[in-house]
């Protein structure tokens, strides 16, 4: 995938992701309602590719205002990834040379890869994760399960153990998929399904959309890596 293509695809998905977030802010309280309206407007401009540098600068300013307003992210990791994708795309536009453009996008590809690897690493060094107990606690104790029926999954220790190891192994192996284009395509399909499952089971809908926005960049990064 060419760099310009990857940036454009990424901007389209980012525009959709921000539009989705902004409509949720509009349904909330003031002052985020107002910011939500401006966010929606800028997302639409990003979607159609109108002046992406200025639009992304505007989105970055609002993201900072919201970060300040909520004294940190409103929606945890999904807000972090949203700002990271936005910042790297913005930097790729204002980069003085093609080299720095690639560095900006390469950083995003690195963070995406690292988001899976580090997640897997901190789980495998934790005995509770290795025994399936941690995932049981996620379902049984945390506020995440979207319904009581989903909470009941905690009653199946074998299922929890199997799911824990499935997630750990996949997250740890994800960086290896960068070695081959088809392996990466398969890996990204699996991670997309993983985010979809998290959205359905734990209601983490924003994670699903925003992680997808970084996928075109990692596809470009992989082809760039293989070309060297």
């Amino acid at each position: 995938m060419l760099l310009e293509q990857a940036v454009r695809y990424s901007e389209i998905i980012l525009g959709l992701a921000y539009a989705q977030q902004s409509v949720e802010y509009i349904r909330g309280l003031q002052p985020e309602k107002v910011w939500g309206v401006i966010l929606l407007l800028l997302s639409c401009l990003l979607l159609i590719g109108f002046q992406p540098v200025f639009v992304e600068a505007g989105l970055l300013i609002i993201a900072c205002i919201l970060l300040y307003r909520f004294q940190g992210p409103y929606n945890g990791g999904s807000d972090c990834m949203s700002i990271l994708v936005l910042l790297c795309l913005f930097l790729s536009h204002v980069a003085p040379t093609p080299f720095w453009k690639q560095i900006a996008l390469g950083y995003l590809a690195f963070q995406l890869t690292f988001s899976y690897f580090q997640s897997g690493y901190i789980k495998i060094i934790n005995t509770d994760w290795r025994s399936g107990q941690a995932l049981t606690d996620v379902f049984a104790i945390t506020a995440y399960p979207v319904s009581e029926r989903v909470r009941d999954w905690a009653k199946s220790p074998r299922l929890m153990l199997f799911m824990s190891w499935l997630v750990i192994v996949f997250e740890l192996l994800f960086p290896l998929s960068l070695l081959n284009h088809y392996a990466l395509m398969v890996a990204l399909s699996i991670t997309a399904a993983f985010h979809l499952a998290n959205a359905c089971l734990f209601g983490l809908n924003r994670f699903f959309w925003i992680w997808l926005a970084a996928y075109p960049i990692i596809l470009w990064f992989q082809s760039r890596l293989m070309a060297t």
């Binding site: 929606n75 990791g77 910042l87 988001s115 934790n126 049984a140 319904s147 809908n205």
Partner: protein, 177 residues
């Protein structure tokens, strides 16, 4: 005198800008250099309950859970929530505020939770008890110790007087508890 006054004003403004920038960097740096330690350990999980009071110093007779989970979610509703789930994402934010209150008191976090509870009351999402014009909430922490799951109350918010319009409209629409 004017020049000293201007200098003082500039110094105060400079300090204010410095403090704001420092605070902004404190929020921004972990986003630019994130740590992806999702569920590294499963700590105490917050549950929020709301209570209504006759007077500011009273004790609620009933604590009702704030936004209890449904028994199940249909496929159609699950698909819709993938696209649009403002209430759930707000609940996750409220939980984040509650988790911060586990770590130490923060007026902003206490206020944020109360603001959202009041908005939920105003929308008729929460039933208001008759002749009880004050509302409060408590946060309890659910955690596993060995094979036992325990629940401890960790925080009780300062009661807030409901505005007349909120208490009257909610009681007349939904009856009393």
């Amino acid at each position: 005198m004017n020049s000293v006054g201007n200098q003082n004003m500039l110094s105060v403004a400079g300090q204010l800008i410095f403090r704001k920038t420092e605070k902004m960097l404190k929020f921004l740096l972990p986003v630019i250099f994130p740590s992806w330690r999702f569920f590294s350990s499963i700590g105490p999980s917050p549950r929020i309950h709301i209570g209504f009071l006759r007077d500011e110093n009273g004790e609620p007779e009933v604590w009702q859970e704030f936004r209890p989970r449904p028994a199940k979610i249909s496929l159609k509703s699950g698909f819709w929530r993938l696209l649009h789930s403002p209430k759930w994402n707000e609940t996750l934010y409220i939980n984040t505020c509650a988790e911060r209150l586990f770590e130490g008191y923060s007026e902003m976090r206490e206020r944020e939770i109360m603001r959202r509870i009041l908005a939920a009351i105003q929308k008729g999402e929460i039933l208001v008890e008759a002749a009880k014009p004050y509302v409060t909430y408590r946060i309890s922490a659910i955690m596993r110790e060995g094979q036992v799951t325990t629940q401890q109350i960790t925080f009780v918010a300062t009661p807030v007087l409901l505005s007349d319009s909120v208490s009257i409209s909610s009681v007349s629409e939904q009856g009393t508890v």
